[in-house]
Symmetry: C2
Subunit: 379 residues, 2 copies
């Protein structure tokens, strides 16, 4: 099987548009020159638009986890408390990172059951006092969009900084960093932005600048990033090819328009959910008043009559890779990512492949309901 | 001027061979699959050969400074002492990183004068007790190759761990991690390895594994790297394109042979030094018994009769970028990097351009001595 021909419909990395791959493979330029500086400045400007913020914004030569740690490690010191909201694998990661720097108060939902966040518990934890609260906006492990705006209000009410992982939402779903009061927001390159993996970006509010610890990790020291960004540079050697790629990916976003891009992601997720409904596949997440289905990844229960290996293996044979469940959800759910620069054709191919595999395994009696439901949304 | 046509003869980033650029721009693959695993395992194996070590070795999706911090941040805790040997900008960086994690005892030479390291002072500092000692093997800011083998002996004598920055030597100059007793050695992708910037690698000795702190930075937690590497994976999303590039760069190194590559770098540096001598340009570093000229970057004094702007500007007009001095050395020295996959043609072009610029500015009376001296080494 030709791996280069496999369509990645997973919650990142996403397929990278050929023009981005071409941009990435340009000959390397020195990163202290004006050409690099111009490129970096343009990236930062477009990222502000994508984040919907006037805050400072920087690109980090490290993946999303590096940016998450930059957010926590610059804010949480030994005596500080982070309220870590957890309803998935990446929420857990914030707790783990927080534990390296200070105290963590964890507000958990049982993500192995796809439980949504309980805002009352969040408020109780914040009322006890905390320097910051962390939230994963779009929790890919369960396919839930968490209530960022509401958490932002609670953070404001209790005077805590709001750290938000927008790794898999920013650039694909509606994110309003300034309106929601997000003090530190992070995004990964290889998700909705449509670029290759390895880079990330972080925005920093005025309030966050006033609350920095004295000794953050050196490589993630946001004050150094700011000092260098004022000269259109990065503090350490940047991953120049990933900056080339990010620049091209952001050009594509500007051409499409941020709002149109968000609408397109919403439409894709709607199409997947409609198809699931048409094929009697149950969505995995439990929702409540403030929680919604993710618009960038759809988590579904593996239907009775087929197992994970047959479902995903069958789709891979047709050239399409989708994701399984993580941790104890392995074998119970599967997930289809619909992020970045994928096309209607990609969505339809994926649903078609899923329907065919379910049909061959006797789960779906008659071919057509899934693809028809999706086409009603897409066409 | 076409920046893509500028020959980068700086101490990194280096020109990247077209076959590496092509490898980098392959469609992205999932990083949890066996294809990625195979590639990562092959990279690690070749890196062991390049490092001359049997130690564990990992690739980090972050630049050399990230790997330097990984080395220090996993070893130095609040109550530990790092002896930081400094005779250049990157030696200073180890001191700064060390200060984020514990106590630092600095052993300084005046790098603005190009002073070599005083091993007696190093021994005195180590005799007072330290958990680790850090050394920059090849200090590009001054063009000196520091005495790594001797520092390794002192570290052993006083029971300290030896942290070595081989960012600009490994893959280009002779480095013997096991023989010298280097406990943590780091290299950058964009120097002698000939790959694009943004990745780095680190080797970890058995002794280092036994001395890890409890809470290193999350993104740089070497124990996580080891746990994942046992499954041919990385703990966090890797910069897949940079891994593609690293893999191809390491294939090139295997094809050339590590020893042949070291000899080639030595020959290039000899050619630059012979040319400098032929044009009456003074080398910048002061050497002593244990210090040598760098074999990957040559630091020279800017000759009387020309200034930095005219020298480097004139060369850039001819399509060749060389480096100036850093910090207070700006305007006093210039540096020619001869790292990675550059060719004899690149070396000769650079020397020719330098000679022509010096001639046009009246510094060199007659054209020919520089290029002839270099050709005697290269041909």
């Amino acid at each position: 099987m030709n791996l280069e021909d496999t369509l990645l419909m997973i919650p990142g990395p996403v397929p990278v548009a050929p023009r981005i791959l071409r941009a990435m493979s340009k000959p390397i330029i020195g990163h202290r020159g004006s050409e690099f500086g111009k490129m970096y400045a343009e990236c930062r400007e477009t990222l502000q638009e994508v984040f919907a913020t006037k805050n400072d914004i920087f690109i980090i030569s490290g993946s999303g986890s590096c940016a998450m740690e930059a957010a926590v490690g610059n804010i949480i010191g030994e005596k500080d408390t982070l309220v870590a909201i957890e309803n998935g694998k990446f929420g857990e990661r914030f707790r783990e990172i927080g534990g390296r720097y200070g105290n963590v108060k964890s507000v958990k939902s049982d993500w192995t059951k796809g439980e949504p966040i309980d805002l009352e518990k969040v408020e109780t934890a914040l009322a006890e006092g905390a320097k910051a609260v962390s939230l994963v906006h779009n929790e890919t492990s369960v396919g839930i969009k968490n209530p960022a705006s509401e958490v932002g209000k609670l953070a404001k009410k209790y005077g805590a900084l709001f750290i938000m992982d927008g790794v898999t939402s920013i650039g694909g779903d509606d994110v309003q960093v300034d309106k929601w009061g997000v003090d530190l927001a992070v995004v990964g390159s290889q998700k909705c932005l449509g670029a290759p993996p390895g880079a990330s970006a972080i925005s920093v509010s005025e309030k966050a600048w006033g609350s920095m610890v004295a000794k953050p990790p050196y490589y993630m020291d946001l004050k150094s990033y700011k000092k260098s960004a004022d000269k259109d540079q990065t503090p350490y050697t940047p991953a120049v090819p990933l900056f080339f790629a990010m620049h091209e990916a952001l050009l594509i976003i500007k051409e499409e328009g941020v709002q149109a891009r968000i609408k397109r992601h919403e439409m894709y997720a709607n199409a997947v959910r409609a198809a699931a409904d048409g094929m009697n596949i149950e969505m995995f997440p439990q929702l409540n008043k403030h929680s919604k289905y993710s618009n960038t990844v759809s988590a579904m229960k593996i239907p009775a009559g087929i197992d994970d290996g047959k479902l995903r293996g069958g789709m891979k044979e047709l050239g399409i890779q989708v994701s399984g469940g993580q941790g104890s959800l392995s074998g119970k759910i599967f997930r289809i990512g619909t992020m970045g620069n994928v096309s209607k054709r990609d969505i339809l191919s994926t649903i078609e492949a899923l329907e065919l595999v379910l049909h061959k395994n006797g789960v779906v009696k008659k071919i057509g309901a899934g693809i028809e439901a999706a086409s009603n949304i897409l066409m």
